[in-house]
Symmetry: C2
């Protein structure tokens, strides 16, 4: 019944053992270890000495049971190797760790509400204090809504439920930055390879792209759609490359963008000479593949940290008003884009200075 260390019949020391060695009560040991202010310095020292001597560690399960708080947060994530997911997760872990919170992961292979509900269930069973939902929530369900109502929840990337706070990157702005940059280079219009439309950020990018073109009075080509994978970019590239009009493409992710570029190359269209390509994400390889990819950098780690901050605030004060937060992406110009062939060496003055390269610091 009791937990025993693996190497013998010895049981791990408990607070009572520490208390005995230090000559105080268990409660005092608890106070010392929790950093409670009202403890005499001498007592504190005695306790700490006993703790060191016994190699004592507090039993987390007992603390959770007793205090009702687990000091753990859960993250629901998609089971993929997308750069963006990993980057956000990493930001979350750092921030949580710094705040003294543990992170429990629950990945889901599918986006249907059933699968997501299962992931949330696992986290609830773990007794997490709060949850960061880092997957798009296409269809919410009654069970999910009930969960978000009873457990502090932050959603990332635009998953929307009634009772959760949202932290997101301004995807419409990302699309606008990319599209305007291409228009400023003299391209007549800009084609788009979108992400899967179940993803809210994919639809936001598509709408941002469309709105930008319309605002500039340009024709809006029919959007293509991929699934974020390089392979799907490649497939779409094989289509785009066969359309003579195409001189500029905004692709909804870097990984798809490289697939597009590969296909264009195979069809004999040069990038950027014949066709300019802009991606989104600024993955680490974006600068080192050929050609270096112009892209829109997203502050993933920052967003993860922000999500944690909001979540902890929400845990501390469940009644605080939700406060949606949007962080801004940034264009990074590289060599996959060029002035439209025929417009000459001096492109029309850009609406924004292309100075984004100045400090391309990754986070």
């Amino acid at each position: 019944m009791a937990k025993r260390s693996a190497d013998g019949g010895e049981r791990a020391p408990g607070m009572a053992d520490v208390a005995r060695v230090a000559g105080v009560s268990a409660q005092t040991v608890s106070r010392v270890l929790s950093g409670h202010p009202n403890v005499q310095e001498r007592t504190r020292a005695k306790v700490m000495a006993a703790v060191d001597q016994l190699g004592y560690r507090r039993n987390n399960a007992a603390r959770v049971l007793s205090s009702g708080r687990s000091r753990a947060i859960g993250v629901v994530n998609l089971q993929t190797n997308f750069y963006s997911r990993a980057a956000v997760t990493s930001g979350i872990e750092n921030a949580a760790q710094a705040a003294g919170y543990a992170v429990s992961m629950a990945t889901t292979a599918s986006l249907d509400s059933f699968a997501i509900d299962r992931a949330l269930s696992r986290l609830a069973d773990q007794g997490v204090d709060g949850v960061i939902l880092a997957v798009p929530l296409i269809h919410s369900s009654e069970r999910i809504e009930q969960f978000t109502r009873s457990t502090p929840t932050i959603t990332i990337d635009g998953s929307r439920t009634e009772s959760a706070e949202v932290v997101a990157i301004d995807q419409a702005l990302a699309a606008r930055l990319a599209t305007e940059y291409l228009l400023d280079l003299g391209h007549e219009t800009v084609w788009h390879v979108a992400g899967p439309q179940e993803w809210l950020d994919a639809t936001s990018r598509r709408e941002g792209w469309r709105a930008t073109l319309e605002a500039a009075g340009r024709s809006v080509p029919p959007p293509l759609e991929g699934d974020w994978s390089p392979a799907s970019g490649y497939r779409n590239g094989l289509i785009l490359g066969r359309i003579p009009d195409v001189t500029a493409v905004f692709v909804a992710s870097d990984e798809m963008a490289f697939g597009v570029i590969k296909a264009l190359h195979e069809l004999g269209r040069r990038v950027p000479d014949d066709i300019s390509v802009v991606g989104v994400d600024n993955i680490e390889l974006a600068e080192y593949c050929s050609p270096p990819l112009t892209t829109v950098a997203q502050p993933f780690a920052h967003m993860g940290a922000l999500a944690v901050a909001h979540l902890l605030r929400h845990i501390a004060d469940p009644d605080a008003a939700p406060r949606p937060t949007v962080v801004e992406p940034r264009l990074i110009a590289r060599a996959s884009t060029a002035p439209r062939a025929g417009t000459g060496p001096a492109p029309a003055p850009p609406t924004r200075r292309p100075d984004a390269m100045a400090a391309p610091s990754r986070e």
Copy 2:
């Protein structure tokens, strides 16, 4: 003191509540929920009905405290976005989840024993049943050894401690596959951009490369060294590209390999026409960047799953004999490699039959 649901004064239902509604004892509820065999079907149904009606969930903390097992495993990981780390982690999460175990993450920014010890501490505080150490352990420490002695631990990628089981990819074989492939293409010798030598898999690759060259009676060029980043590959590529002899390079990771290729391009050396490049990892973009990268694929997800399987076995039976396991990598030939320039369409007879892809034999 008690945990209350966020939306009111109601406390979450406990086993006693379920028992009352079902008209049985709490103990019977526990048995039903644990899948204990000796429960009458009628009783089980009554209990399940009560559980549904109340929306009851077992309190994890109480279970852990009472049973002494947490059904959670910990993973120590490096705080980076390396593809390999993410891929292994994903394999671990799937396998753990399938086995009904939760996963707790602890990332470390540095590899020194102090930082790793802190990560292990956090996991120990969480009360995990076992740990997968997915970072290289350069210097073990007494505290780390003590931890691995008292907690089931599996190390991945060659971190070695006295008392932990090891699951690893055969890195020497990976190096041999790459090097032999290049020699078979007619290259006189093969240069090497190694990973940071604190990483055991980096040194294993370097030694495998060296041994293969020596076995073939070739000269062994001085190895270069990067830090896994594309940028470091680029820096090394700027050096390699200035050495006329170089016709073939084995780079210890795909991301560095693309950095190398970019530098070679900038120096006017064509890949693969002038210089062949082989990477390691088979990241998703390897096929879609230009040129498509010949690389050695590593079964990351499989390794993660294997690590979990071993760990759970070890948790179930702490006295079982450690059983180191090695899984085998696989060469994937793409377009970044070509027969040595000047050897004509028919390369010199290879030192080994170029069947490396078919059935990689162990050494």
